[in-house]
Symmetry: C2
Subunit: 360 residues, 2 copies
């Protein structure tokens, strides 16, 4: 079974294609902005999901205070598009990056994160190049064991290092609590805040993160902003986390069944170079096929998706175009130069994924 | 520990970066061409690994008969660069693709694969658009359970369909035997060949595939060509398969250690958006760090590689730049717009990954 829109996409654009439903995109933007407003925290969406200046501008227009980027290259694209309040939530190191950060800070209000002294020692070079002070938040590990200092004591020590560094302003704390770890995050933050205040400093930014954490937004007393990313498109992970419904999933991969081979098998023209090998934290299969929800995308070659149809009562024929909700939409968008924008059954345009592939 | 070249890459280009050693690239090209020559089969390298017209031209200049592509978009880039003998080893379906295939066939000698009647029914449109006959090989499944007909009888039936289709030429068979399945592949092929000959047809192309299969190249009696891809760069998978040494691995990801957090932990600036979540068929960890071979890249966030240093006697400090051999180099190259070419300790240029992101 191929929907009329899927037939149109295949005929006019070709598959595999990433297709975004702009009605859903706008609804997702409005819904999460309203949730942040209701919780009394600013919204600072992470653009790593969409990597599009147009969508970032829509988020700002809807009320976002600014945006979050993970890479300098992403921030450069966004600043060129006129976004002027950008947090790079990442440890930046090295002369090449400091030169670029300085150039960015000369045209936008930049904040960067740091979780160690080596990072802090490099940042004054960027501030000096820009000719104005640079805001720095201390990244705190509140349970994910990713980056971030592991104790409030370390957080306070780094805050003092920042405040003592030429051209740097200690701006506050960046946290990324686990979905069940907000009590621990509160304890960490309260101690860190008391610690910096004891040294005459204060936190103007207290930033929490994550789309799955939208159910907790505002829960941290003292938080000033939240950094959700995936909510603009949503995916199987967000549905599994209970923060989105299937109707909130705004991006589908449209893929053609190119072979059936055995009776219980099929091959999609979307493999690991389209849907990626990301399991979405251990989901069953590599995406949900809306036309055949009992079919399993069992494994991948680079350009082949291996369909296991053993459990599926409905089976596609060669030439069918199916719609797939990806496991993890952020890494899927990163695979392509552009996505197709639709409204209802109309193709309304092609949107460049302008900040895609900005590794540095 | 940071090598002088790694320090130079970080300073002049920034990390993460994909760096290719051109001496190794040239050696790999020459070695596998010699192996195909010695086995008496033509070399038709798969460009899905490097996606670069320059490297494809080097392969052709070294003796390759033509190239293999998986996507029309890849073939378009290669034909524009003057490569004139291209196999697209994939079932192509749909009007949009037939129009593009016709345009390609008007400027290069194209061969395409088919494993079902729906694909064959569409191809005459491309042939008609180009004004000349189009060569089609029948894809045979010889054990991978990917695309391909499952029996010689089906292969013969499709060969006859191709031969009976206006503008199409039955050109032969495409196989991709498993590394241990060459005896089965021989049996399949012998039956299929006898079958088509009984109907007055013959196979001018008998194509085998795979870099791990280079140890078997020439083993199929009647084979005319082989399609290896990964050998130009190699990776952990090829070393595990016994067809490459670490010294044959021509592409490294250079990555900066941006955080150490806990004593047994570290964070690299290369995550799943650089190294991908591809496990390389179940390898331990997400790449080999040459400076710390006992360290494990245990898991990923999109822009964070989580280092587990528990088993490693040597531990990097924040700011170190390390070199990583990826699990599966083909999907890693696909993440970036360009790679850095080096010879010895010199940066000699930037090579665009011109056919990257050509999903369609």
């Amino acid at each position: 079974m191929t929907t009329p829109l899927a037939a149109k996409i295949a005929r006019e654009y070709g598959t595999p294609a990433a297709v975004i439903d702009m009605d859903r995109v706008e609804r997702n933007i409005a819904r999460i902005q309203a949730a942040c407003d209701a919780a009394g925290v600013a919204n600072r969406p992470h653009i790593k999901t969409h990597k599009s200046p147009l969508l970032a501008q829509m988020q700002v227009k809807a009320g976002a205070k600014g945006i979050t980027c993970q890479k300098l290259g992403e921030a450069e694209i966004m600043a060129d598009a006129g976004i002027d309040d950008i947090l790079i939530s990442y440890n930046l190191i090295g002369e090449e990056k400091m030169a670029r950060l300085g150039a960015l800070q000369a045209k936008a209000n930049m904040t960067v994160a740091a979780d160690n002294s080596t990072v802090i020692a490099g940042l004054p070079q960027a501030a000096a190049a820009s000719g104005r002070p640079l805001s720095v938040v201390v990244e705190c590990d509140t349970g994910r064991k990713r980056a971030g200092v592991e104790t409030p004591t370390e957080a306070v020590a780094l805050a003092r290092e920042i405040a003592a560094s030429k051209g740097l302003i200690f701006a506050g704390f960046m946290l990324y609590p686990t979905e069940t770890g907000w009590a621990d995050a509160q304890k960490f933050f309260d101690e860190a805040l008391a610690g910096v205040r004891a040294h005459g400093l204060d936190a103007s930014i207290v930033s929490t993160g994550g789309t799955p954490n939208l159910k907790n937004v505002g829960k941290l007393k003292g938080a000033t902003e939240h950094r959700p990313g995936t909510y603009i498109y949503n995916d199987r992970m967000q549905v599994a986390a209970g923060v989105a419904s299937w109707d909130d999933c705004a991006l589908n991969i449209y893929s053609t069944v190119v072979s059936r081979a055995g009776p219980d098998r099929g091959i999609l023209d979307a493999g690991s170079k389209t849907l990626t090998s990301d399991t979405g934290g251990g989901l069953d299969g590599h995406g949900l096929i809306l036309e055949h929800p009992e079919a399993k995308i069992a494994r991948f070659a680079e350009e082949h998706g291996f369909l296991d149809l053993a459990r599926s009562n409905t089976r596609p024929v060669v030439g069918d175009v199916v719609r797939i909700v990806p496991n993890h939409v952020c890494v899927v968008v990163n695979m392509m130069d552009e996505v197709v924008m639709v409204r209802g059954d109309e193709i309304i345009g092609i949107l460049p994924v302008a900040a895609r592939g900005k590794l540095r």
